[in-house]
């Protein structure tokens, strides 16, 4: 079996998880979310296998073009879902996060994305590729959790739900922000220095990571020092995830710069 077989099986399991999750929402059966999570976890196992096979075959990190990084980002989101499903007691996290995951995997599978494993250009031949990209995308996956729980917060009706969603959002940022800072900014600067001779060049991708960083710094400061919670915090977390999304996608297609790989 090849990588694409495993990837397709993972995709199918994710779609199954999504259907079960939404069935549980509409039928108001919270217990079904466990089956949804189980399907997502099974998909995660196949997805992990697909990523490992791709790494073995291509002999480089599985995130060097758009297809690969979309696949890895969706994998990281499922990981974040598994991490937070146990403790968060937010049954709606699964359905909506899986909606994003299935969307990203579908985008990765679309014929528009070249799937060939191309050999690495010299600038990408570095172990910093592993550290920089994986840790950054992992951080962004946790921002996605904060994004979903913040959106759910804005739509929630009871105080109890709101409190849980607010807490989940904060916990996701508390995991995502250090990862994003370390992977995106610190490792990014170290690698940029080694490859290009300058740690910071005000390239659009760099600036947008800094913007994302400032939005989440705003989230933490307003929350911890000024005691903002709830609605205002949720809006900042949503803005932060959108900035991260723009850093990841938008910069590549809308703004030109050094960072033209993925």
């Amino acid at each position: 079996m090849t990588e694409s077989t495993f990837f397709t099986i993972a995709f199918a399991l994710y779609v199954g998880a999504l259907l079960v999750y939404f069935a549980s929402l509409f039928a108001r059966r919270e217990k079904w979310t466990r089956s949804g999570l189980a399907l997502a976890a099974a998909g995660f196992v196949f997805h992990t296998a697909a990523l490992i096979m791709r790494t073995v075959v291509s002999r480089h990190a599985p995130f060097t073009n758009m297809y690969e990084s979309l696949s890895f980002l969706s994998w990281a989101m499922v990981l974040a879902l598994i991490v937070f499903s146990r403790k968060s007691r937010v049954p709606r996290l699964g359905p909506y996060l899986m909606l994003i995951v299935v969307g990203l995997v579908a985008l990765a599978s679309s014929p528009l994305m070249p799937k060939g494993a191309t050999p690495l250009v010299p600038a990408l031949q570095s172990y910093w590729l592993w550290l920089h990209v994986s840790v950054t995308l992992l951080g962004e996956a946790f921002f996605a959790v904060a994004f979903i729980s913040s959106l759910l917060y804005l739509a929630a009706d009871t105080e109890e739900k709101k409190e849980r969603l607010d807490a989940l959002s904060y916990r996701a940022v508390a995991v995502g922000f250090p990862l994003f800072t370390l992977g995106g900014l610190v490792f990014g600067m170290v690698w940029a220095y080694r490859a290009w001779g300058r740690y910071w060049a005000w390239d659009p991708k760099e600036v947008w990571s800094l913007i994302t960083w400032f939005v989440f710094a705003l989230y933490l400061h307003t929350r911890i020092v000024m005691g903002w919670k709830g609605k205002r915090s949720a809006i900042i977390a949503i803005a932060g995830f959108l900035a991260a999304l723009f850093t990841y996608f938008g910069v590549n297609y809308l703004l030109a710069g050094l960072h033209s790989y993925a």
Partner: protein
């Protein structure tokens, strides 16, 4: 003075600066940075002058953006310092006066009596807390003892460590901006060049480009020797991602190319009237090569491009440095008369012969071409880099402390009541309160049960 200090210590200033820096940074990604005035005029018309005078076209180096970053740094320092004293006392200071009633208002608490002397009770409690890595401080009161147990005390300073790290990164950024020295050094194989403002030279021994079997560049390898006072000091291979550093100067593989303007070409001369005639000559671009023949006296190559394209204004240009479509502008002269002039193409030997050269009795074939490869290094000495790495290290450590090293604190009041010891304990943790609660209960439950 005090109000100025308050202004810079305020979190509101920090929030305003976060927002302003974010908005300014976004603006800088919408306006292309560092282009020519003509390009801005074409893009923005009449308002381009305003953009340039507001420094929006080199925004990240502009006075006002620097001022924002400077204020941000100042705000960070003042905020950190103004909160530092109380935090320090909380983490390392002596026991603050407390009593049993205050402890009973805490969320995590316990109260019970032990049939022991005060000193013995204190020793047992202290032993249990120490075995869980708490550090103890103690003070005596009129009727007993107050114990203060703390652990992971550095966790309180996570945000301070992050802030100091950020400040050092800012200092590093300004240091780089003022003190960085950069130069592009282009070297042909065998060439030695001075590095600007440096007391040593670099020589390119060898330059290789490796390709993947399916095409595409795999690696550029420059073998470089550092020469100091005329003597070679060290030789190393420089690749992308593997710079050479010597005396604080780093050499990064930045670019490459071939010196096509002084290519050496092999041309085959043919004659239309005589299909058996063939003569190969070798010459450099611009060289006038005499040929002993009845139909011509010399050949000259006016121009050579590795990747032929007709550009703007019908001018011949090279699309890239790569030899994708090598072409030479060849002329043949017989005395004062030009008997051949045409572009000839290595990959399309028949093309071009039928055009300008069509009327000629001669034909030329571009058999071979070779140019010396050169390698371009970015040489940089950046005194800010060390600050950046130190700052990054502190930011990372600070995040770890702030998010994953939450401090815990337990206060215990021991009072002698009717020959027994009344123990009142209260505790708090910055994070992960359930785990703390179970630790707290473990300590005090084991005491309540008779040993």
């Amino acid at each position: 003075m005090k109000s100025v200090g308050k202004f810079f210590a305020s979190i509101k200033l920090a929030i305003v600066l976060f927002i302003l820096i974010t908005l300014a940074s976004i603006l800088g990604t919408l306006i292309p940075q560092g282009r020519s005035a003509a390009e801005y005029a074409a893009r923005y018309g009449g308002s381009s002058g305003l953009f340039i005078s507001l420094q929006l076209t080199r925004l990240y180096q502009s006075f006002w953006y620097m001022a924002l970053l400077f204020l941000f740094g100042l705000n960070t320092v003042v905020c950190t310092l103004s909160r530092f004293g109380p935090k320090w006392r909380r983490a390392f200071g002596p026991v603050a006066a407390t009593d049993a009633q205050t402890l009973l208002t805490m969320k995590v608490k316990s109260r019970f009596r032990l049939a022991l002397p005060v000193v013995a009770a204190r020793d047992r409690i202290a032993g249990l807390l120490r075995s869980r890595r708490y550090r103890l401080t103690e003070s005596a009161t009129a009727s007993g003892v107050v114990l203060l147990a703390r652990k992971r005390r550095l966790g309180r300073f996570g945000s301070d460590v992050v802030h100091i790290g950020l400040l050092i990164i800012l200092i590093g950024g300004f240091t780089s901006g003022i003190g960085v020295r950069r130069a592009d050094v282009a070297l042909l194989e065998g060439q030695t060049a001075d590095v600007p403002n440096v007391a040593f030279q670099v020589r390119l021994e060898k330059f290789e480009t490796e390709y993947y079997p399916q095409g595409g560049v795999k690696d550029w390898k420059s073998t470089v020797t550092v020469v100091e006072n005329g003597a070679p000091v060290l030789t190393r291979v420089v690749e992308v991602n593997r710079p050479l550093t010597y005396r604080g100067f780093s050499f990064f593989q930045a670019s490459y190319g071939w010196d096509w303007d002084s290519s050496r070409l092999d041309l085959e001369i043919r004659k239309r009237a005589d299909a058996t005639f063939s003569k190969v000559v070798s010459l450099k671009v611009g060289e006038r090569l005499p040929v002993v023949d009845a139909d011509l006296s010399y050949v000259v190559v006016r121009q050579f491009v590795p990747d032929f394209i007709i550009g703007e204004g019908n001018k011949v240009q090279s699309r890239s440095q790569e030899p994708n479509n090598p072409a030479a502008l060849v002329e043949a002269w017989k005395g004062e008369e030009r008997v051949f002039q045409s572009w000839i193409f290595a990959k399309y030997p028949d093309f071009g012969q039928g055009h300008a050269g069509g009327s000629s009795a001669l034909a030329f074939v571009l058999k071979n071409y070779a140019a010396a490869p050169y390698s371009v290094f970015e040489a940089a000495k950046d005194p800010g880099v060390i600050f950046i790495w130190l700052g990054c290290l502190l930011v990372t450590a600070g995040f770890f402390l702030a998010f994953y090293w939450p401090p815990r604190e337990i206060k215990v009041v021991l009072e002698e009541v009717q020959g027994k010891v009344e123990v009142t304990a209260g505790g708090q943790a910055a994070k992960n309160r359930e785990a703390f609660q179970s630790e707290f209960e473990n300590v005090f439950e084991s005491l309540r049960r008779p040993a």
